[in-house]
C-alpha cells in the first residue's frame, strides 16, 4: 500500500471505527472502564464504534496494560494481524508510561518501549493516542477516540513554568 492510499484511508476513517480490545497484562481496571464505555450508559455505538472479536477486523486497538514479558509475543502477533491503517489507543497509566510498574523486571514498560520493539519487527503503527488515567474514565476513552479521529484538538500541552 502506498502512502497516498494510506493517508486517504486515514482521512476516510472519520466515523464507524471498529475496535479490538487487547489486554497486555493489565490489572483489569482499564478493561472494566472499556466495557463501561461500550454499555448503553455511555453507548459508543452512537458514533459507530463497535467492538470486534478479531484484530483482522479492527481499525483501532484498545491497548491496556504495561506489556508483561509473557504477553509480548502475543501482542506483536495481534498487531501484525491488523490491516493498515493500524491505530492504537493506549489506555491507562500502564500503557502510556508503565504506570506503577515502570521499572519492574517483569514488564516492558508501556507503549513507548513497545514501539521500539515493533520498529525492529517491521510493524508500522500509523497513529497512536495516549489516554492517561488510573483507570482512564469511560469519558476519557471516548475523548481519546475523538482525538484519534481528529474530531477535537488535544487540550493537553507541554508546559514549562519558571519559578521567580
Amino acid at each position: 500500500m502506498s502512502t497516498a492510499d494510506l493517508s486517504s484511508a486515514l482521512k476516510a476513517l472519520k466515523r464507524s471505527v471498529w475496535v479490538f480490545h487487547l489486554n497486555s497484562g493489565s490489572c483489569n481496571g482499564c478493561d472494566i472502564e472499556v466495557l463501561d464505555a461500550l454499555t448503553p450508559y455511555f453507548d459508543v455505538e452512537r458514533f459507530g464504534i463497535k467492538l470486534v472479536a478479531s484484530p483482522r477486523h479492527a481499525d483501532v486497538v484498545l491497548f491496556t496494560g504495561p506489556i508483561t514479558r509473557e504477553t509480548l509475543p502475543k501482542v506483536i502477533r495481534a498487531l501484525r494481524a491488523m490491516p493498515r491503517p493500524r491505530m492504537v489507543l493506549a489506555i491507562g497509566s500502564c500503557a502510556v508510561g508503565g504506570g506503577i510498574w515502570h521499572d519492574s523486571y517483569g514488564v516492558i514498560g508501556g507503549y513507548p518501549k513497545l514501539e521500539e520493539i515493533l520498529k525492529k519487527e517491521g510493524i508500522v503503527i500509523d497513529k497512536v493516542v495516549f489516554v492517561p488515567g488510573c483507570p482512564a474514565r469511560p469519558e476519557a476513552i471516548i475523548y481519546g477516540v475523538l482525538v484519534m479521529l481528529g474530531v477535537v484538538e488535544p487540550k493537553s500541552k507541554r508546559e514549562v513554568y519558571k519559578v521567580e
Partner: protein
Amino acid sequence: MVKKLKFVKLISVARKAGTVTRKYPFEGPLVTEEFRGEVKLDPKKCIGCGACVIICPPNALTLHDEGDVRVIRYFVGRCIFCGMCAEVCPVNAITITKEFELATPTTEQLLRDLVHERVKCRVCGKPFLPAKLLKAANGETPGSENYMDVCPECRAKLSLKGILGHRMG
C-alpha cells in the same frame, strides 16, 4: 399468540427507566466531588523541596538537578492520581484538579516542568539548592543566615576548620 406478544411488556419497563445514555461530548461529564484528576503545581508557591518526588508511588514526579537549575518534572502519563503529593506538600503548592481529558498523540505533551534557579555557593561557586528553599529553611531555624549560602560540602570543611583552629589555638 399470547406468547408472541410478550415483548409488549418490555415497552412499559423501558418507559419506566427512560433514557439512560449520557450525551457525553455534547454535555458535561459526570464528575463527582471526590474525583481526582491531573494535579497542578503552583510555580508561585513551590519551594522545590522534593517531598512530592519522594512520596510519589509511580515516580510520575521526578527531580532533576541540571547545572544552574532544579527541574521538578510531572509526567501525567505515569500518574495514578492518588493525591499523596498534595497531602505531603509543606506549602500547599499542589492542588488536585478535576481535569481528565488528557488524551494526546505524543507522550511529550504530557510533561509539565517547574524550573527553579539554584543558588551558587559562596566558597566554591557550585550551584546547590533553590533560593526559595533556603529562604524557607532559614525561616524554620533563625540564625542560620550566616552559612546559608554555602554548599553542604564547603560547610563541613568550614566548620572543621573552625573546630581545628579553635583546638590548635
